[in-house]
């Protein structure tokens, strides 16, 4: 479990334009510098936004990663709900789902 490393990568991508450009060209070359589990790596490269959410990535990082991946807002929310249906409840952090994965709150 290396949620910190996964989160750090998203923090770095959000701050560093050169890194995020390189990530868009060749994501593996960026990801290899972070100590991720296979599950985390797969979720990141998918990208499997739902699994990243369930792994406990802080929403303030995940929402920017989703935007970087070109995922529109309502789609981002739906992917998180779908992630909970597929992978179960959020495993860590302070961004757990408090409604039902079948509930669309807004957007």
């Amino acid at each position: 479990m290396s949620l910190y490393q996964l989160s750090k990568l998203m923090f770095d991508l959000n701050r560093d334009g050169d890194l995020s450009d390189r990530f868009k060209q060749d994501p593996e070359s960026v990801v290899c510098a972070y100590a991720l589990t296979e599950e985390e790596r797969g979720a990141l490269l998918g990208p499997d936004i739902g699994l990243l959410y369930v792994l406990g990535v802080n929403g303030q990082l995940l929402m920017h990663y989703a935007a970087l991946c070109g995922i529109e807002w309502s789609d981002y929310l739906q992917r998180m709900r779908d992630g909970v249906l597929v992978h179960g409840p959020v495993r860590a952090g302070i961004y757990a789902l408090t409604t039902s994965p079948h509930t669309k709150v807004a957007g």
Partner: protein, 272 residues
């Protein structure tokens, strides 16, 4: 000279980023309230505005998370978010390193605040500035309270930080404004985005407007998380602003706008 203005407002990125997705009858009065706050702020003729924000990993991360930080740079940039996502243009914001240094020196007497000569503003500061300083004329000094990466800054320390800012502002010859930014109850960036606990918000705003220190500091983080979401942790910025101001507050606007993911709030507070 002294503290000349205090207020608080929402900073959710949806306020600008998803502007057109809210009904106009909800959006327009909210924007109008920001404009009233802008005029009140301008009328106070501040030499510098301290924006007490709750940032979201734009600068501070779990590798080295300060409980409190203040900017001490010549200038700042923002927003860090993509312009087509936040819909706020990039700008350079003027700072005042000498004033920052004097303020921070005084604040350090009572609060261990980190200082930062680099700071990239995220929506926590840029959304308020977009409305409150659209011409980019003001001198800004950013301040941050850790509301995002637990263990969080305790509420009573947020109060102490506000008091320390007040002492520092009163000791400076400049005219200083303080603006706290954050949500009240909200569940941002989760599938619950748009959930808003209006009764909880109104209760909190009542305590805030009375500047009832004991009542504001009585929330536990467990209660706040359960009833107001992780976004509710940002009440720290409102609490610090209240401690700095000292007087009663006036809520200019409060109304939930679910697509903006927050109970949209604009309020000013008397300096006492």
């Amino acid at each position: 000279m002294s503290l000349v203005f205090a207020g608080v407002c929402s900073h959710a990125p949806g306020i600008t980023g998803r502007e057109e997705r809210a009904p106009r009858e909800l959006r327009d009065p909210f924007y109008a309230a920001y404009d009233r706050m802008r005029r009140a702020l301008e009328d106070s003729r501040p030499d510098a505005v301290i924006v007490i924000a709750a940032e979201h990993f734009a600068n501070f991360f779990m590798n080295n998370m300060p409980a409190f930080a203040m900017g001490m740079a010549e200038s700042y940039t923002g927003p860090i978010e993509a312009v087509d996502w936040l819909k706020v243009p990039k700008r350079e914001i003027r700072g005042d390193p000498a004033l920052s240094q004097r303020l921070i020196t005084t604040i350090l007497d009572t609060v261990d605040v980190a200082y930062a000569e680099e700071w990239r503003f995220d929506h926590g500061i840029m959304v308020p500035l977009h409305f409150l300083d659209p011409q980019n004329r003001m001198t800004v000094i950013p301040a941050n309270i850790n509301c995002q990466g637990p263990p969080l800054t305790p509420l009573h320390r947020a109060w102490a930080f506000g008091e320390a800012i007040r002492r520092a502002a009163d000791a400076a010859p400049e005219r200083i404004a303080v603006i706290g930014t954050g949500g009240i109850s909200h569940w941002p960036a989760t599938p619950d985005s748009g959930r808003i606990n209006e009764p909880w918000d109104r209760e909190f705003l009542g305590r805030w407007a009375r500047n009832d220190r004991t009542a504001m500091l009585s929330y536990t983080d467990a209660e706040t998380y359960a009833e107001a979401g992780q976004g509710g942790f940002e009440i720290r910025t409102f609490i610090a602003a209240a401690a700095a101001a000292g007087g009663p507050g006036q809520v200019l606007h409060y109304a939930p706008i679910p697509i903006y993911a927050v109970g949209c709030t604009v309020a000013t507070m008397e300096i006492a």
